[in-house]
């Protein structure tokens, strides 16, 4: 497919990277010539210099014959205009726009397919909020991905030194068939995807479990994690992300406090957020954090404007006794680094926006694409269609490529964590995990014939 990516920021870069690696023809449009040069140094994509909301520039980039436009410039207005132009010049094109400002997001029905010709609106803030909410719903997890409307979860867990599973093989995790848990990957310096059942676990391993929603808790307990429900959360930073998180969490019944330094903003927040206590102060202030009981919260979220501040604040909160700390970090190089120095979970607003975009490019039977650990492993959810290669044979006989694994099969209300004898039927919703490089090969198994 021909895809135009407007904007060469972090998200633009990653969208272009993923899509070109998946074999699409990608052209990136940006007025930042230097950014384009760096982008072309690393990616095999075309580049057009110019304003992404200018018709002539978009035409130069091949708008008339393109299949998808992904507008992810820093400006909401430019993204909207680019989509408008795209619709005028090419009715067939699928338009995706990133919008930050809640003022636009609140206007669904005005800014969407029906009126403003945007097929998919992506809000990194909303994505972040739902990611944080998922984390809050799964105590002890470093990563949580939801599939099949939340009925199947992929959960990352780091093994503590006192875990009862240390030294034991993976197969001991699920003793009874109805509590089955599947280990899709073990991260031990590098990723072992689809590990053998006999692999013995050691302290410091991060396991990626796939389980039905109601089995996650049991599995976590077996791994030695205490299941402490998230009841109290402090959020440092009252920007768009902080607000979206606060709104999501308090709607789920979590006691939420939000700390913001700007007084005017605080007042605006207090009007917007009914159930959230808005505190005026510095989110990095040790005294304030201690006074507000950071030592008692189950989760602390650092959502300040600056990602270095986020890492630092999260570590500070951890030191003060917060049970779990989450930092918002965007620079890809910082993400693994933040994790190694003690931040329990890192959420990247920009990368969060990536999955829905990839989903559009893989349209068809694929319902969801989720990346674990910035794409070391990827999970896709799809509906098994008639005559697809994956249907009708026991999984053991399918010869799936090495490094890929079927994580869950959902038939009606029943979630099955499969083994070699499981047979996928037409109409099943299937969750499959694999290294991203294998995805093109796997996609062939999903299509009929």
């Amino acid at each position: 497919m021909k895809i135009i990516v407007a904007g060469a920021g972090v998200l633009g870069f990653h969208v272009a990277k993923k899509l070109s690696e998946e074999g699409h023809d990608v052209v990136v449009v940006s007025s930042d010539e230097e950014a384009l040069r760096r982008l072309q140094d690393a990616l095999d994509v075309g580049a057009v210099v110019g304003k992404a909301s200018a018709p002539s520039v978009l035409i130069d980039a091949g708008l008339r014959s393109a299949d998808i436009l992904v507008a992810v410039t820093a400006s909401d207005e430019a993204n909207i205009v680019a989509c408008l132009i795209a619709e005028t010049l090419n009715q067939r094109i699928v338009r995706v726009a990133r919008l930050h400002d809640p003022a636009y997001l609140g206007a669904r029905g005005i800014i969407d397919k029906s009126s403003l010709s945007i097929d998919l609106v992506i809000s990194p803030e909303e994505e972040v909020a739902s990611t944080v909410a998922e984390l809050a719903g799964t105590p002890g997890a470093t990563d949580v991905l939801e599939f099949v409307d939340g009925r199947v979860k992929a959960v990352g867990v780091e093994l503590d030194a006192d875990s009862p599973m240390i030294g034991k093989p993976i197969k001991e995790l699920s003793r009874r068939p109805n509590e089955k848990v599947l280990v899709a990957g073990v991260y031990r310096g590098e990723m072992v995807s689809a590990p053998s059942d006999d692999l013995r676990l050691t302290a410091g391993d991060t396991l990626f479990l796939v389980a039905a929603d109601d089995s996650v808790r049991r599995a976590m307990t077996r791994l030695g994690k205490r299941w402490v429900r998230t009841r109290h959360v402090i959020i440092a930073g009252g920007g768009w992300e902080g607000v979206a998180i606060a709104r999501r969490l308090s709607a789920a019944g979590v006691h939420t406090k939000i700390i913001e330094q700007d007084r005017d903003l605080c007042e605006a927040l207090s009007e917007k957020l009914d159930d959230t206590l808005v505190l005026h102060g510095d989110g990095m202030d040790r005294g304030l954090l201690a006074d507000e009981g950071v030592q008692r919260v189950e989760m602390f979220v650092a959502a300040l404007g600056d990602e270095q501040d986020n890492i630092f604040t999260a570590l500070l909160a951890k030191r003060l006794g917060a049970r779990r700390v989450v930092a918002l970090v965007d620079t890809p190089d910082y993400i693994p680094f933040a994790a190694t120095i003690g931040v329990d979970a890192v959420v990247s607003p920009l990368l969060s926006a990536l999955s829905p975009i990839l989903q559009v490019a893989r349209r068809g039977q694929v319902l969801a694409v989720r990346s674990l650990r910035e794409s070391i492993v990827e999970g896709i959810e799809f509906v098994a269609v008639k005559d697809a290669g994956i249907v009708g044979l026991p999984l053991a006989l399918l010869h799936l490529p090495h490094g890929s694994i079927v994580g869950a099969v959902v038939r009606g209300d029943e979630v099955t964590i499969p083994d070699g004898s499981t047979v996928i039927d037409e109409g099943d919703r299937v969750v499959l995990f694999a290294r991203p490089a294998l995805m093109p090969r796997l996609q062939r198994l999903l299509t009929p014939g």
Partner: protein
């Protein structure tokens, strides 16, 4: 939904050198393996003409190249997706050196040339230079004759570009290679993907080749002759199959057809693509192409006048000789029709200047490229303007676009390096006892991949008499010039090897 936590990736240090060497070695091996297939064509032709010794020479070379290539392929097999820019330069420079070396073996094995001469001849072929050390070309066996011209064609569009077009496993590495081989300050992309771009370039190249071969064949040339002249024209090389070069065909039709195709081959191929895809406006508006075509027209008129006044030929012949010489020199092909050394001295001076200019960027032509000369001249003029208006913000413009500072910097450093290299090697050539005109023009001609020069290396002279050290220097210049200096010179700079 990227949720991330403890990973040591960012902190671990990648072992650079061994991995890098392995990638470079693997790529070189695959290229060698791929290029060895090219040897089978002259082998078949030699077999067709019953030239047993030549068949043997090609067969032995083929087994050496294919054997070494296959061995390296299995020994160094690795993932190429991480190929860096630095490695890309190394691969391209080394593969050119290697291919020129392997390509010279048939000349040696067939007993045609000594190793040094064979190396010179073969490099001259692949780089599209066309300087020959062979005096009696017509006495060569057909297989050798074909191979000599074939190298022009393979090197013209660039075998690395061909390799990119055909080899699927390259991924992002393709770009690093393309950057190092493709000529011109800006690398045009006809398609978002380098691989598709490379394919289109070769398809255009192939189409032009077929058309030219048919035209020459229809004009009464033998098939082998037609194909060989075609190779030399499209690669803007200059090896002919006649001792008297194109003059040996005595055909006005052939002269005019070649004039047109030398001009086409030295035009930016992305402009050909624009015309093919129905956007001829882009060609007509292109400032480089307009300047190039105008320059060629002016020089052609001058040469025609000089030929008519200086030598005893008819007006029609003088026009043909003038236009042909202008096209052959400006396009850096270097075919010979008339001996410009018999013209008034102005002619030789203009030829000398043209050795530096070359054709359009993105074509098979050599030398500095018109666009760089244009930018250089405009910026020089701008300097003068700025002494009058010191506060003026007025970057030089090319067509509708302003030239960026980045571009200016790259053009100036290229031209500086080009002239320095020329000055240095001219001194070297003088050391071998050459006269001034021959020494300076031979280096300019080799760097620009033109072929003939002035003095002892005029259009109908050959290079056999040059001192062995001189031949080695010119060989290096041809290679460095073809890869636009940086790719080759980088390997000799300390900064490249520093971590």
């Amino acid at each position: 939904m990227a949720l991330l936590s403890p990973i040591g990736d960012a902190l671990s240090i990648r072992p650079i050198t061994l991995d890098a060497l392995r990638r470079v070695a693997f790529l070189l091996a695959t290229m060698l393996l791929g290029s060895s297939a090219a040897l089978l064509v002259p082998l078949a032709i030699a077999a067709g003409y019953g030239e047993t010794a030549v068949v043997k020479a090609f067969a032995v070379t083929f087994f050496i190249a294919a054997g070494a290539g296959a061995g390296g392929y299995f020994l160094f097999r690795t993932d190429l997706s991480r190929l860096t820019r630095r490695e890309g330069f190394a691969v391209v420079a080394l593969s050119w050196g290697l291919v020129c070396l392997i390509g010279s073996l048939p000349f040696v094995f067939a007993g045609t040339l000594s190793p040094l001469n064979a190396w010179f001849e073969c490099t001259s072929g692949f780089t599209g230079t066309g300087s020959s050390v062979i005096a009696d070309i017509e006495a060569l066996p057909h297989g050798i004759l074909f191979w000599r011209s074939f190298t022009h064609w393979l090197g013209g569009m660039g075998f690395v570009v061909l390799y990119i077009a055909l080899y699927p496993l390259l991924g992002i590495g393709a770009m690093q290679l393309y950057r190092a081989e493709a000529p011109g300050p800006e690398k045009d992309r006809l398609r978002p993907r380098i691989r598709s771009t490379a394919r289109i370039l070769w398809i255009i190249y192939l189409s032009l080749s077929i058309v030219l071969t048919i035209l020459l064949f229809v004009g009464g040339m033998g098939l082998l002759d037609a194909v060989c002249q075609m190779f030399a024209t499209l690669g803007t090389g200059g090896f002919s199959t006649r001792n008297d070069s194109i003059a040996g065909f005595h055909s006005a039709y052939v002269d005019w057809v070649l004039i047109v195709f030398m001009w086409l081959a030295s035009t930016n191929f992305s402009l050909h693509w624009a015309v093919i895809t129905g956007k001829p406006g882009r060609l007509l508006r292109n400032p480089e192409w307009r300047f190039y075509t105008a320059l060629m027209a002016v020089v052609a008129a001058l040469f025609a006048a000089l030929a008519w006044t200086s030598t005893d030929v008819s007006f029609g012949t003088a026009v043909r000789e003038g236009v042909f010489t202008a096209a052959a020199t400006a396009s850096t092909t270097g075919f010979a029709l008339a001996d410009y050394e018999l013209w008034a001295p102005l002619g030789q001076y203009v030829v000398f200047l043209l050795l530096f200019v070359g054709g359009c960027a993105g074509s098979t032509a050599g030398a500095m490229k018109v666009i760089r000369v244009q930018i250089f001249a405009k910026q020089a003029w701008r300097g003068l303007f700025r002494t009058v208006h010191p506060t003026a913000v007025a970057p030089p413009r090319l067509g509708e676009r302003a030239v960026t500072t980045e571009m200016l910097r790259s053009v100036f450093s290229f031209i500086g390096l080009y002239l320095l290299t020329w000055a240095l090697f001219s001194a070297g050539m003088s050391l071998t006892g050459m006269d001034f005109a021959t020494a300076t023009s031979s280096v300019a001609s080799a760097l620009g991949n033109v072929g003939p020069g002035l003095g002892g290396i005029g259009p109908f002279d050959n290079f056999a008499w040059i001192h062995p050290a001189g031949k080695a220097m010119l060989t290096f210049c041809m290679l460095a010039g073809r890869l636009e200096l940086f790719t080759v010179v980088l390997l000799f700079s300390p900064a490249y090897w520093r971590r």
